[in-house]
């Protein structure tokens, strides 16, 4: 097999290999009669990528030996392929020749530069084998198409270290949130959820409401590739436990990313958590400004949040305002969660949700100090508030994992509220002991005092 890539296509090839390198360690090169495929699979076999370049992507493509087609396949280290395209000489490269001879020990890349430098890379072939994945991408129950930029904006809201995200599709909207394994013993988890409407998608075919959970790292990889190609991403999936397929097509190139999704039936340990998460809190329009304020007041966050959510409840009965739950209930493993509800009405949802996320991260970072102090008080308060708020929340949902309202604000001992009493209806200055004493006489009679 011999082929020549030239011009801008070299950059695409370089990006494709970079994308593969984010997923696997080894790359399978599979020449076919009219196309060349690069494939990789990650170490846990949960992600598979196939990037196929059609014949017309190349300025020259010769498959040559049809009889020995079996020998024309190889496995190389992605790292060695990456080395071929490293550096910023991309724009100076005129052409790239790729050559794979039958039963050869090396895969040859020849890069010709404009300043007449010729680089020859001989990549050692590890094995003569190929890989195939069985998956279905046409005719799946659910099919979405979205511009990578929109998706990128959403994905950026999640922490870089986040492993998995959950995608929930409903008939009228899509929710994406970070997946928190409830069996893990991590405290201070931030919960982020982004909500986007059908309008954000180029295509939206949903047979049934579905919730799938998959790895984020691989999604980021294909998103960045799609972003560079500025081509939409197609998402095909059926149900939890079945693979989700991301497809990005650009002219003569097609990249497929197949990701395993979390199977609720086999993951018994986290089944309960998964199922509880499948009934999320109803998404409502919440006001961002008061939330930010509540978050800033650190030590008494739980109380202020509660105060705000109450304020919102009274202002708008439609929004129960479940913002964050900062309680440290023993039953919840001292884990703290906060759910961001992002308005679906706002067309610039991704951007605004990013703001809210950063605020929430700040909150998560600052929380541990404050949680110690509020721990006792809030867990006591919490028990009461669950009783109160529990009825309220159970109108909307029937599970207990959800984010509760924060406990009501107790009578504060803070200085700024000392005079609050004076404004209560029951306040009668005449009841105060010593109210008739005159501490300072009128200024005209300055000589006599009590």
């Amino acid at each position: 097999m011999k082929c020549v890539v030239s011009g801008i296509n070299i950059k695409i090839l370089a990006r494709a290999i970079q994308m593969l390198s984010k997923i696997g360690e080894e790359m399978f090169v599979q020449p076919q009669e009219d196309c060349l495929s690069f494939r990789t699979v990650n170490s846990s076999n949960s992600a598979f990528v196939d990037i196929t370049f059609q014949e017309n992507y190349f300025s020259y493509y010769a498959y040559e030996d049809l009889e020995e087609s079996d020998s024309l396949k190889c496995k190389i280290l992605i790292r060695s392929a990456l080395a071929v395209f490293k550096g910023n000489l991309d724009k100076q490269v005129e052409s790239c020749h790729i050559q794979l001879d039958p039963n050869s020990e090396q895969l040859t890349f020849v890069l010709k530069y404009r300043n007449s430098i010729i680089k020859t890379h001989l990549l050692p072939i590890l094995d003569c084998e190929t890989i195939k994945a069985n998956y279905k991408k046409d005719g799946t129950a659910n099919h979405l198409r979205i511009q990578p930029r929109v998706m990128n904006d959403v994905v950026q809201n999640f922490q870089q270290s986040l492993l998995e995200i959950t995608l929930e599709v409903l008939q009228e909207k899509v929710l994406i949130r970070n997946y928190i394994d409830e069996s893990s013993n991590v405290s201070n988890e931030t919960r982020t959820q982004c909500n986007f409407s059908v309008g954000e998608f180029d295509e939206y075919n949903i047979e049934s409401d579905t919730i799938i959970t998959f790895c984020l790292k691989e999604l980021r990889a294909i998103l960045s590739l799609a972003d560079i190609l500025s081509q939409p991403i197609d998402i095909h999936f059926e149900r939890p436990g079945r693979p989700v397929v991301f497809v990005c097509k650009s002219g003569s190139m097609e990249s497929n990313l197949v990701l395993a999704t979390l199977n609720p039936d086999t993951e018994s340990a986290s089944q309960s958590t998964t199922s509880t998460r499948q009934n999320p809190a109803p998404k409502k329009v919440t006001k961002r400004a008061p939330r930010g304020k509540g978050i800033k007041s650190l030590g008494k966050k739980s109380y202020t949040n509660s105060a705000h959510s109450r304020a919102m409840e009274s202002a708008d009965m439609e929004s129960p305002g479940r913002i964050s739950d900062v309680s440290d209930l023993p039953t919840q493993n001292n884990r703290r969660k906060s759910v961001t509800d992002v308005s679906k009405a706002d067309p610039f949802t991704p951007r605004s949700s990013r703001e809210s996320t950063s605020v929430l991260r700040l909150e998560a970072a600052e929380h541990p100090a404050s949680s110690e102090r509020t721990n006792l008080a809030s867990s006591l308060m919490k028990r009461k508030s669950i009783d109160q708020d529990g009825d309220e929340s159970s109108r909307d949902m029937d599970n207990d994992d959800l984010v509760q309202n924060s406990p009501p604000r107790p009578k504060s001992k803070k200085a700024k509220l000392i005079f609050q009493k004076c404004f209560q209806k029951t306040f009668d200055p005449n009841n105060l002991p010593g109210h008739s004493n005159v501490e300072v006489e009128d200024s005209s009679e300055s000589s006599e005092n009590d």
Partner: protein, 288 residues
């Protein structure tokens, strides 16, 4: 009394001096040699690699030397002292005057530096660096040591078999992208194809970079016969540092494979400075 100093030097172009010194600062100690042409700092590694930076007298505003001097100095500290007010030098230009003495006594009267009485009482005196900026004076005193014997990598023009003079631009990217997992670098110079080739062999496979021999980036390409020698990549790496600030580089090899990089660095004032690297080849290179 001023005749007692062996060396008084006032630096004019600090930026270039520091650039030159940093380019050879891959080892801690350097041997400084002062002559009427300027200063030369030489750094050696394991007796198989040597780098020298030449600071010509044109880079000094004032340079007085009574006799040739030689001493060993801690180059790290030396560069650090010189670049102490580096940020100010970059922004405000020449408000800093920097003076360097070899065994000096100084008196400071009313914020001005008066250098008088230069005594040279033999080896063992410190190098004093005075940095004055807006009346603030830093006085650094660096201990000197007796110099080690410097290897003489003599590359007699008659023994040179291959010589390439090229613009550094061409080699910069090539050397910067060498496979870091490779142990050594192989240089091939030949009067016939492939003329000029650099190869590495690392974990990521082999890589051959074939350089042109007749483009305008190459000024001279003289090859008498095919020569192929290997050099340790860690020895080549420091030589790349100088590549970044240089304009032109010349490569010369002799019969035994000794490689000499000579960098020409043109200052803003048009003064040419030079840095030289001698790298001896790997002889028993059977193992990869």
């Amino acid at each position: 009394m001023t005749t007692d100093y062996k060396l008084i030097a006032k630096l004019g172009n600090l930026k270039t001096v520091i650039q030159l010194l940093r380019a050879v600062n891959f080892k801690e100690s350097a041997t400084c040699y002062g002559s009427k042409n300027g200063l030369k700092l030489t750094v050696e590694e394991a007796k198989c690699m040597q780098a020298s930076a030449y600071i010509p007298i044109q880079l000094f505003e004032e340079y007085t030397l009574t006799e040739d001097i030689i001493f060993r100095i801690n180059l790290n500290v030396f560069v650090e002292c010189l670049s102490m007010f580096w940020s100010n030098i970059n922004t405000t230009g020449s408000t800093t005057s920097l003076e360097m003495h070899y065994k000096v006594n100084t008196q400071i009267i009313q914020g001005e530096i008066f250098i008088n009485k230069i005594f040279y009482q033999g080896v063992g005196h410190p190098v004093t660096i005075l940095i004055e900026e807006d009346g603030v004076v830093v006085d650094c005193s660096l201990k000197t040591q007796e110099p080690d014997e410097i290897l003489d990598f003599d590359l007699d023009p008659e023994t040179v078999i291959n010589k390439v003079l090229l613009h550094s631009e061409l080699l910069k990217d090539v050397l910067a992208e060498l496979d870091p997992t490779s142990n050594h670098l192989e240089l091939l110079l030949s009067p016939k194809s492939p003329y000029f080739m650099i190869s590495t062999k690392g974990l990521a496979g082999e890589c051959h970079v074939q350089m042109p021999h007749n483009t305008e980036m190459i000024e001279t390409f003289q090859c008498k016969k095919e020569a192929k020698s290997k050099y340790l990549l860690p020895h080549i790496k420091p030589a790349m540092k100088a590549m970044l600030c240089s304009n032109k580089v010349s490569l010369r090899t002799n019969e035994s494979g000794l490689l000499c990089f000579q960098y020409m660095i043109k200052t803003d004032d048009g003064v040419n400075c030079f840095i030289e690297y001698y790298i001896s080849p790997l002889i028993n290179d059977d193992d990869d």
